[in-house]
Subunit: 336 residues, 2 copies
């Protein structure tokens, strides 16, 4: 059911049946290390390339979901997945053997929220009993594709973020005590940021826009939520988001946190402005946050995936970086 | 409503309100030249790069849809779009100013069917009044990204196809006499083809699988359709598709045609095995085929978008090329 202009309210309260996460070494040494299902110390996971390793991370995350839920691939009707690599190859090669109808998604780093939102909408509308949302990123595959060969050892600017090596998978279905209540798919926002080493600034306006759309549509207030969780705005983008919203009379200071700020210990891990990448929000939401909701420690969470829509080619051709943000309202339900 | 294992039957018969198409010079000299809304003779459309030109093609196709339908962007709830360029930049930069919630899609050359299917499902389920499906490809931007610099003048093998310079846009909503009856989203299929110059062979097994799924789910027969239209299997892939289906006792010889075989005059235009690219099925379906359905010349059409899921990186790393195919059953409805 549509609420306001942009928000869908899901009348059947589809459930997140289970979440799975798999991360790399740096993430496995961070503050959330005890919440991830798999922490790999080898960046290649024994594969011959980082790209293949990233596919493996998706497989591991999905494997955890299947184990925890007891649901078989044949009981899952749709697979929504995508990633940052050109032509979404992590998802394709990670998931091709699943034999589930595959709808490839591209939302840059907003992909976890986009795929979760779509899976929720499909289950809520009765189009699927179960639907799977999956995404990933890998520091090494992202660096060489988007920036520089790792061997070059380029200096990073203070606004730069560190691409999370990790994957997350979420199964949406009928069981469990974590429900999806509302979804707001976002519009692109472009305030003219061109600095590909400052993705937080490029994405903050889109996050603000989607949050404002949602609050206006539903009449809710930031105080109605225990956590307003952005995907990977990092330090720079989080400050900007709060500033933009403050100018519009919305204060999310107490509720807001960012997966990019949660995944690493910024004092002791050299990640500059924080974590980023599809795998950032995917791994953090699918592990720690989902656990906290399922245990009732968090009762209402707004999860806002944030994506910077650019490629090296578009930047080289002088283009700005539009942002997009998709919002999912996830809630704890006492009656499991 | 789910029919069988893989097919969705759309109980509200959402309509294709209008279609728009924009193509390049070669396509504008082909057999369908009189059906396209815009034929551009300049490969750059006056832009500084082919990538920007491809974005413009999407804009032109969308502009036609808006003009024909009389529907304003503010009346459209969702935009499903994607393309072949890394990080889907044609869609991002072509459509960022529309201010419509944007769900980026990646289905390689199956994108027109994937986006049309999703738009139809959203409208049928009441999640949107109107939803827009858009995709594109450009010979020059695809060549330099996937293969070789154009200046190199590389030889093409006989199985190679010619990427269509073109875009298509389809508005799904409430009005008109062309309805969407059923959608079958496909599973990936990978029989081990590694030759990136033979995409038809890589995609044919996926097309066969989705067609078989659909016929099994619905109990229908090829004779129930005036046209079984694949996206861009070309000559090689079309023959393979028929062979695979023949082995399973299904004969589509009389009904099957392929957008990649329709868009060029293969006798006089040097395109080898036919056209390909997201823009191939997009431009052909959104122009000629849609017109023929709306005029009642074609009453039941199965439109099967076909995609080869690969990147230059995956091929360089020795990977095979999985295919995927999404099917949409489009019908003429006397009562407009």
């Amino acid at each position: 059911m549509r609420v306001g202009t942009y928000t869908l309210r899901l009348k059947n309260h589809p459930r997140i049946v289970a979440g799975g996460s798999a991360v790399g070494k740096k993430e496995g040494e961070g503050p959330l290390k005890n919440y991830f299902d798999h922490c790999f110390t080898d960046t290649t996971l024994g594969e011959k390339s980082w790209e293949k390793a990233e596919s493996d991370l998706q497989q591991e995350a999905v494997k955890s979901v299947l184990e925890k839920s007891g649901i078989k691939p044949s009981e899952i009707q749709y697979l929504f997945a995508g990633d940052l690599l050109n032509q979404c190859i992590s998802s394709v090669f990670g998931l091709r053997s699943m034999n589930i109808p595959f709808l490839g998604q591209y939302g840059a780093c907003s992909t976890m929220a986009q795929t979760l939102g779509l899976a929720a909408v499909f289950v809520d509308s009765g189009l699927a009993q179960n639907a799977l949302a999956v995404t990933s990123s890998h520091f090494c595959s992202a660096e060489r594709q988007f920036r520089l060969p790792l061997e070059y050892g380029g200096q990073r600017t203070p606004t730069a973020q560190w691409t999370v090596t990790g994957a997350g998978a979420l199964l949406v279905g009928q069981k469990g005590n974590v429900s999806i209540e509302e979804v707001t798919f976002g519009r692109m926002a472009d305030l003219g940021v061109k600095d590909a080493a400052n993705m937080g600034a490029a994405m903050a306006p889109a996050a603000a826009q989607t949050i404002e759309d949602y609050l206006k549509d539903t009449g809710k207030k930031p105080e109605d939520f225990d956590l307003i969780l952005t995907g990977d705005l990092g330090q720079v983008g989080s400050v900007l988001l709060r500033e933009i919203l403050n100018q519009d009379g919305i204060d999310i200071e107490r509720q807001q946190n960012d997966c990019g700020l949660m995944v690493y210990d910024r004092q002791n891990q050299d990640v500059h402005a924080g974590g980023s990448g599809c795998g950032c929000s995917a791994a953090v939401f699918s592990s720690y946050v989902l656990r906290k909701i399922s245990e009732g420690d968090l009762k209402h969470v707004l999860f806002i995936g944030t994506g910077a829509l650019m490629s090296p080619t578009s930047s080289q051709q002088g283009e700005t970086i539009p942002g997009v943000a998709h919002l999912v309202h996830v809630a704890w339900n006492a009656q499991a």
